[in-house]
Amino acid sequence: MAKTVIKKMLFVLSKATLENAYAAFIMANGARMEGIEAEIFFTFFGLEAIQTKKLNKLSVATVGNPAMHIPTMVGGLPGMEGFATKMMKKEMEKLDMPPVDEFLEILSASGVKLWACKLAVDMFHLSEKDLIEDLDGILTIGDFYNRADQEGTQLLFI
């Protein structure tokens, strides 16, 4: 089989919906499993995924998501988000997908670098003590671009 030309994947996670966080996690983990380096930069709402108190409470977006196949107004009813999230987590458990906290541990142990965006950390008045222990540091976007230090690096915004 031909070897991939991708050597390093840089992900920017800017949203805190469960489906977006998992997209970044699964792709980062999948990269490591193929011998590709991977790093995730958590910015804006994406920061919720690495805040100790919030990371296990991420939800599926039920409003403004046509693939949910429910009317937007129904999606906005109280409890809908919680219900949809519960259903999705149940399906994910069936596929042996780890919950957010365990997934972050796996990523870190697998050598995925986890970075918080400095501007967003400042904007939400957070400090390192609010963030997971496995965090590799708080970076500016310029620092993050400098992580693209080799041929075959790809950057993906989620």
Partner: protein, 102 residues
């Protein structure tokens, strides 16, 4: 495709995995490891044995499964089989390439 590993004729998939586990021997595993740039140690063989047992028991292999294995942790797994640990270790173990995305 047919190939000769450690003096034995074996059938390999396009990706270089053994088609039939009954053809596997430790010597073949050693040779497959060499192709991946890995010098096998006792620790490597312990992991390979565990992987073979999992496949035999029909348990799907995943990185989460490694974490829960009690045999080794994920960091050691990456250290033993650098450059795609599950892919490489299953190849050495003579079992099919895992299809899991996680």
């Amino acid at each position: 495709m047919e190939a000769v590993l450690a003096g034995n004729k074996v059938n390999l998939t396009e990706d270089g995995y053994l088609v039939d586990f009954s053809q596997w021997t430790k010597e073949i595993g050693t040779e497959l490891a060499k192709e991946e740039g890995i010098e096998m140690t006792d620790r490597h063989w312990e992991v390979i044995k565990w992987i073979q047992e999992q496949v035999k028991a029909d348990n799907a292999l995943s990185v989460r499964g490694i974490k829960k294995s009690g045999v080794l942790d994920i960091k050691e797994f990456y250290a033993l089989f650098p450059g795609g640990p599950l892919k490489i270790s299953t190849k050495i173990a003579g079992v099919p390439k895992p299809k899991s995305c996680i």
